[in-house]
């Protein structure tokens, strides 16, 4: 990492010497940076695997776009918004960063989006869930690529309520993402004819969930909505099994990834619903890419890692097409071109930067149904992008003219 930075610092100094040789590509390189959780609760779903996915995208572009070399930098934000923002600022100011990818954790993405907008450079948020990125806090430079809390709510929230889970209680992570997810899911549950009986907020990384779960149980709700992620979801599901809560309540993981199911095992998660933007076994192209990823990382990719690849490829194609890395022009080009790869077929909405594509409602298989390693999900329904994501008419983004 340190040596990468040193090399990059050197490279940018050298680049300054040849300033003006190529007016269209700033700094004579295409510099891509990803700031994500590399070491803590969300490191499995993105982290080093996400960085590797981006490396694969760059390698598939032969390391070049518009005739210039592509470079990659990455950093760990430790789930701290201020760390993410200052790192982003440093890269934009001193390294001539051209594209910023935001990894997991909503708080950090909201902070990075502001910095990127100020620097007029594209910011693609992959791992963050909060729908505020393309609503209240939208910017002309933010693209929210993979999923958001509205899509998750429209998937799991609606499906479970329609299947008879009418009363809900939420176990919510006490930060931007959890609050967003709870609010969005509550809205969907109420709209689908269900009711929300209550919620309890827990701190991030709460390790012991038994106390919160007993509170949930005494609400007598049918469904326990887990508005948290990563290690918190894992420990909550585990404790719910231990305390026999799964006998009286059904669990709905509102943001679960394949890595979480892998960690918990099929025995504890069997039958749970989840919504995701991608599953490695969804199509032959997806499988082929997932195999390549597996060779490198020894684990199957999460939807976020696939989206990291897809987003960077989409960006590089845009740069190649217009032969420029100018923030405004690239964003316009990315929004004008449909996304069509193994990850998804969709578009990036011009008005608010929302990536719109199909989502999948998945159900965890039982151990018997699972035929190979990492064969964990059945696709229950495919939710059309227009139904999954916020409609333009409902957008709270000030850039959307009504």
């Amino acid at each position: 990492m340190k040596t990468t930075l040193k090399t990059l610092a050197l490279a940018s100094v050298l680049a300054c010497g040849s300033f003006g040789a190529q007016a269209q590509i700033s700094g004579d390189t295409i510099k891509i940076g990803i700031i994500t959780d590399m070491s803590s609760v969300y490191a499995d779903i993105d982290g080093a695997g996400g960085v590797e996915a981006i490396r694969m995208a760059i390698a598939d572009a032969k390391g070049m776009a518009a005739g210039k070399k592509i470079e990659l930098v990455f950093a760990d934000h430790q789930n701290k918004a201020d760390v993410a923002a200052s790192k982003a600022r440093e890269w934009f100011d001193t390294q001539g960063l051209d594209l910023l990818i935001g990894g997991t954790n909503s708080g950090t993405s909201l902070a990075m989006a502001k910095v990127a907008a100020e620097k007029k450079k594209p910011f693609i948020s992959i791992g963050a869930g909060t729908s505020r990125l393309t609503n209240e806090e939208c910017t002309p430079y933010t693209i929210h690529y993979a999923y958001d809390t509205v899509a998750l709510a429209n998937g799991t929230g609606a499906a479970v309520t329609k299947a008879g889970g009418k009363s809900w209680f939420f176990l919510t992570a006490d930060y931007a993402f959890g609050t967003s997810l709870q609010a969005d899911t509550s809205a969907v549950v109420t709209k689908s004819g269900g009711q929300v009986l209550g919620a309890v907020k827990h701190p991030l990384n709460a390790s012991d969930f038994s106390s919160f779960l007993l509170q949930a149980q005494s609400s007598k709700a049918q469904i326990l909505g887990l508005a948290n992620a990563g290690g918190d979801t894992i420990n909550a599901v585990k404790a719910a099994n231990e305390f026999g809560i799964t006998k009286t309540m059904k669990l709905a993981g509102l943001l679960m990834f394949i890595n979480d199911v892998h960690s918990l095992g099929l025995k504890t998660t069997e039958g749970m619903y989840l919504t995701d933007s991608w599953y490695w076994n969804q199509s032959p192209e997806a499988r082929a890419w997932a195999r390549r990823f597996f060779e490198k990382m020894k684990r199957m990719p999460s939807s976020l890692q696939a989206a990291d690849y897809s987003a960077v490829s989409h960006y590089l194609k845009a740069v190649e097409a217009i032969k420029s890395d100018d923030g405004d022009k690239v964003v316009a080009q990315m929004k004008a071109t449909p996304i069509n790869d193994f990850y998804t077929k969709g578009t990036i909405r011009k008005e608010d930067g929302r990536g719109v594509h199909d989502m999948f409602l998945l159900q965890v298989k039982s151990a018997k149904e699972s035929t190979e390693p990492w064969d964990y999900f059945k696709v229950v329904t495919r939710i059309a992008g227009d139904d999954a994501f916020t409609k333009l008419a409902d957008s709270k983004c000030p850039l959307v003219k009504k």
């Binding site: 585990k238 305390f243 026999g244």
Partner: protein
């Protein structure tokens, strides 16, 4: 009210872990004057050893409950002989920095091998299932955790306060030169104390494995709270750390009911209050 009883009991379960870990820290601090920041990492190691034992060698929970603390203790032996023994004469800060560095290394190694999602570890057959206490359903395993940790804590307390070995230990910390003059091998005593202290952490780790997902971060999530417990109880006070550990578990449990958002911070609020009133901690002696 019944709901509250349940929460108190759950608080006690968490308190048992705090008590066991802070006990080890207190013993080590009392004897070695080292603030052992690696305690959390060694606790994590204990949990991972339990998991590895079952996964790779088919060794069951009960055997690992003995073996894992021994391995962690042996690891502690190496740490003490190799690194810590050079620091006793220096400021506390050096020991803290060294053990903090060790934590990063140990956690990093486990993270790179096993990721952060963690490994599932099932409770042993005999303790699976739950008992209906009327006011709540208590998983049998959690009841076992409380019993086991109370027995261990009590045992350590008796060993240090009531036996001749304990007396030698305590004398050794008061005046090592004089004790050495009586023919006691003080450095060896200190080494064994460190090994014993971290073995306690390993034991707590095995106990925690079936409750929490076994992952590389489980120690760092806990260690800061445990340090607060030691500070509140009074640095180096054995009984203080046991009682404070259990008490704070309960305080935290109640906070989870009345103001859950603050459940991660309440321990530190208590710490600040205690330090204002009694700078040496609840059970500590003013020097």
């Amino acid at each position: 009210m019944p709901a509250l009883l349940g929460q108190l009991l759950l608080g006690l379960v968490n308190g048992s872990f705090y008590a066991m870990l802070s006990l080890g820290l207190a013993v080590i601090f009392g004897m070695l004057n080292i603030i052992n920041f690696a305690h959390g990492a060694l606790y994590m190691m204990g949990a991972f050893l339990a998991w590895m034992g079952l996964e790779y060698f088919g060794v069951n929970y009960w055997a690992m409950l003995l073996i894992a603390p021994l391995i962690v203790g042996a690891f502690g032996l190496v740490i003490e002989r190799l690194l810590l023994q050079w620091l006793y004469k220096l400021d506390h800060l050096y020991g803290l920095l060294l053990t903090f560095g060790l934590t990063l290394v140990i956690e990093g190694v486990f993270r790179s091998f096993f990721g952060v999602g963690g490994q599932p570890y099932a409770a042993p057959e005999a303790l699976s299932g739950a008992t209906n206490l009327g006011f709540m359903i208590l998983p049998n395993y959690r009841a076992w955790v409380v019993v086991a940790s109370l027995v261990v804590c009590l045992g350590v307390w008796v060993l240090i306060e009531k036996t001749s070995l304990g007396a030698t230990l305590r004398a050794g910390t008061e005046n090592p030169k004089l004790v050495q003059a009586f023919g006691v091998n003080v450095p060896r005593l200190v080494t064994l104390t460190y090994a014993g202290g971290v073995a306690l952490a390993g034991f707590a780790g095995v106990l925690a494995a079936p409750i929490l997902q076994v992952n590389s971060l489980m120690g760092s999530n806990l260690i800061i709270v445990v340090f607060a417990v030691v500070v509140i109880g009074g640095m180096g006070s054995i009984l203080g750390s046991i009682l404070t550990g259990l008490g704070l578990g309960i305080v935290e449990g109640l906070t989870k009911v009345f103001y859950p958002e603050a459940s991660n911070t309440v321990v530190f609020v208590v710490m600040a209050l205690v330090l204002l009133v009694r700078p040496a901690g609840l059970f500590g002696k003013e020097k």
